[in-house]
């Protein structure tokens, strides 16, 4: 049984403003915001997305520890998005050219029959670090069963497994749609 999920219209990219002329080298992934009822969905997806982005080897990605330190210094609480002035300070302190911000809209580990069928819906934004302006917004939603190919093969049974594949799809889409790798 081959489902058509992987050929769906997601991930969906919305261009709000053009990317910087010079391809960015320094990227910071800001802590994600969890709007779902799944505890730690923000942390799980954040860690996995960060690893997938690093695997693309196109950017220098700021250390999570550095970002969380600036968040503490600026008194930005967990699950709180930084304000415009705070964005500028974070950009300067960690020397980032673009930020990636994210929101987990829905995450649940439900079942379809006997098979676990996790579901994850998220949106990721590429933000210009200097101005705080959102340049691209990407919305993505998937269920584990959408990756099933034949019998058990391809089946994704966990939120983290789903996050890994979805992160990979989003990063691929970004490069396909014009995000340039660092030239240095």
């Amino acid at each position: 049984m081959v489902l058509s999920g992987c050929s769906s219209r997601f991930p969906e990219l919305q261009r709000l403003a053009p990317l910087p002329d010079k391809p960015p080298c320094q990227v910071a992934v800001l802590p994600f915001v969890n709007e779902s009822n799944y505890a730690q969905a923000d942390l799980i997806v954040y860690k996995i997305f960060m690893a997938e982005l690093l695997k693309s080897t196109h950017f220098q990605v700021a250390q999570e520890g550095d970002i969380r330190k600036v968040y503490r210094q600026l008194l930005i609480y967990p699950q709180q998005a930084p304000g415009l002035d705070q964005i500028k300070i974070i950009a300067d302190r960690i020397n980032a050219q673009i930020f990636i911000t994210g929101r987990i809209h829905e995450a649940q580990e439900k079942s379809s029959g006997q098979a676990p069928n996790p579901q994850l819906t998220l949106s990721l934004q590429i933000v210009d670090a200097a101005s705080g302006r959102t340049l691209w917004n990407t919305y993505h939603t998937r269920e584990g069963l959408q990756y099933q190919k034949v019998m058990h093969f391809g089946l994704v049974t966990t939120i983290s497994g789903l996050a890994r594949r979805m992160s990979h799809e989003i990063i691929n889409l970004w490069f396909k749609e014009g995000l340039q790798p660092c030239a240095d």
Binding site: Q40, L43, I44, K47, I48, M50, A51, E52, L54, K55, Q60, V61, Q63, E64, G65, D66, R68, K69, Q73, D85, K88, I89, D92, R93, S111, Q114, P116, H152, T157, T158, I159, S160, G161, A163, R164
Partner: protein
């Protein structure tokens, strides 16, 4: 293929393998205990950490002992695993003498419906604090089914060696350990206050740097405030820098940056924050919703107070004060942020005691974030006195009786009703009106003049104050005005301050 070429290729291959192994053998790595999110944000997974250490040893890496790593974390008060600050990564190079750090997180670890595990790893280079490799994988027992089920993993523990082997399968073969590294500063803490201020007020900045340099390489530290560069010196006790200045200039945003100038000539600039000069007072006017009597806003038991803010800038705090005619403050109330859109006052103090009738001044004050203030005030009259009535009756002609109604209160009458009944309780007349004075003319036959006519009078003024009067014998009023028997209703029960107060 000629024998000498085979020998040459074999030699080259052996040389490559030897170089790779030699590099690995000389590389020292610290494995930070894995963060385990399944045990909460502060969870640690020791078994999988040990498994990774073991597998790295098999790759001929020189792995720092676990106690030394834990001691390093404790020494630097690193409480959260799965992440490190660049400062700590670089410090590990000196403290642990490592070129690499492996850190990671167990993102998920579940037993149901089947054991499954998800792991993220990052490999960090201590020379420059960069992540040079990362990998993520997830594994569940059903992914590892084998023919006949021999050696098939059944528990989480069975998955540890498999996931470790799986995630390390893409371990980089050629790790670049050298990196170009410029001196830089690391800010431990920084604050700038206040954020909003008026021109001429004192601003203060404090920075604590983590020193990563030798004494001879100490950078010159400057503050860039707007366009001005100001050298600052350490306060006693280490790398603390404090500076205060008078904020001057037109309204606007003023960024403050820390500039470090290094002996080798390169400079680094870090934005500490911004402050805003605001010299504009917020605009305010006060609207009172009462009844206008003699050009004064008058009320009995409920006054709506509406502070109209014409400039929509954020406010820091507000205050409302009630003063009597002598300028004595009777009651006041404070609040932070924006005031409520509408406040209701019932003419009482904090203890619920009604203010006596009279004139009072209501003053509303607001302060914006820079402590620019604005105030507006208005006089208001509290009037709870009941309408004072005068009732006179006069016989006219053979059959006539005229009743004169008048009132002497300050507030005009908005409604009155007079009901007249005979001695048997039968209503013989009922009159109403909306202003006083008024006259009521009745026809009373001479034969009925010996009978009693009872009267009941209700009068209400514009503010809602009302008086009720019972007249036992209307004819007695034609003889004297002293027979009136008045019974006035009490006002409504005292009310407390409304919630907004």
């Amino acid at each position: 293929m000629p024998r000498h070429l085979v020998a040459l290729f074999s030699g080259l291959l052996l040389c490559c393998v030897w170089l790779s192994a030699a590099q690995a053998a000389g590389t020292k790595i610290a494995v930070i205990p894995l963060q385990d999110l399944s045990q909460g944000d502060d969870g640690v997974n020791w078994p999988l950490t040990d498994q990774l250490r073991q597998d790295l040893l098999e790759k001929n890496l020189d792995v720092v002992s676990q106690p030394a790593t834990v001691s390093y974390l404790a020494r630097h008060r690193i409480r959260t695993l799965g992440q490190l600050e660049t400062y700590h990564i670089r410090t590990a190079k000196k403290d642990l003498e490592v070129s690499l750090i492996l850190l990671g997180t167990v993102c998920q670890k579940t037993e149901q419906p089947g054991p499954s595990l998800s792991l993220v790893l990052y490999l960090l280079r201590t020379e420059d604090g960069q992540t040079i490799w990362s990998n993520t994988t997830d594994l569940c027992c059903s992914d590892t089914r084998r023919i006949l089920g021999i050696s098939e993993p059944k528990t989480i523990e069975d998955l540890y060696p498999l996931i470790s082997h799986n995630i390390l399968s893409s371990w980089p073969t050629n790790i670049g350990l050298q990196a170009k590294q410029l001196q830089s500063v690391d800010i431990e803490s920084a604050w700038l206050r206040p954020t909003y201020l008026r021109s001429g007020m004192d601003a203060q900045c404090s920075v604590h740097l983590r020193s990563t340099w030798l004494p001879q390489n100490h950078p010159e530290v400057l503050l860039k405030i707007g366009e001005n560069l100001i050298p600052v010196t350490e306060t006693s006790g280490g790398d603390y820098y404090e500076f205060s200045w008078k904020a001057q200039g037109p309204d606007g945003r003023y960024p403050v940056s820390l500039i470090t100038a290094w002996p080798d000539g390169h400079k680094q600039s870090l934005l500490l924050g911004s402050y805003f000069i605001d010299n504009q007072a917020p605009a305010l006017n006060l609207e009172l919703k009462g009844t206008l009597i003699d050009d004064k806003i008058t009320f009995r038991n409920r006054l709506a107070i509406i502070p109209n803010l014409t400039s929509r800038e954020p406010l820091n705090r507000w205050r409302i004060t009630f003063e009597n005619q002598n300028g004595e403050s009777m009651v006041s109330q404070d609040g932070s942020g924006f005031p409520p859109e509408r406040l209701f006052w019932q003419g009482k103090d904090d203890n619920g005691k009604p203010f006596p009738d009279g004139d009072y001044r209501i003053t509303f004050e607001i302060w914006d974030r820079a402590e620019n203030s604005a105030q507006a005030s208005q006089w208001v009259t509290v009037l709870r006195s009941k309408p004072q009535l005068s009732v006179k009756a006069e016989l006219s002609g053979d059959n006539g009786l005229t009743i004169d109604l008048a009132q002497t209160g300050k507030a005009p009458v908005s409604f009155w009703r007079m009901t007249l009944r005979d001695s048997e309780g039968i209503t013989i007349a009922m009159k109403e009106g909306d202003h006083l004075p008024a006259k009521i003319a009745l026809t009373v036959l001479p034969k009925d003049r010996n009978k009693k006519i009872k009267g009941f009078l209700l009068v209400r003024d514009l503010l809602g104050n009302q008086t009720q009067m019972q007249i036992a014998d209307l004819f007695s009023l034609t003889k004297t005005d002293q027979n009136e028997k008045t019974k006035a209703d009490e006002d409504e029960k005292n009310k407390a301050w409304v919630e907004e107060f």
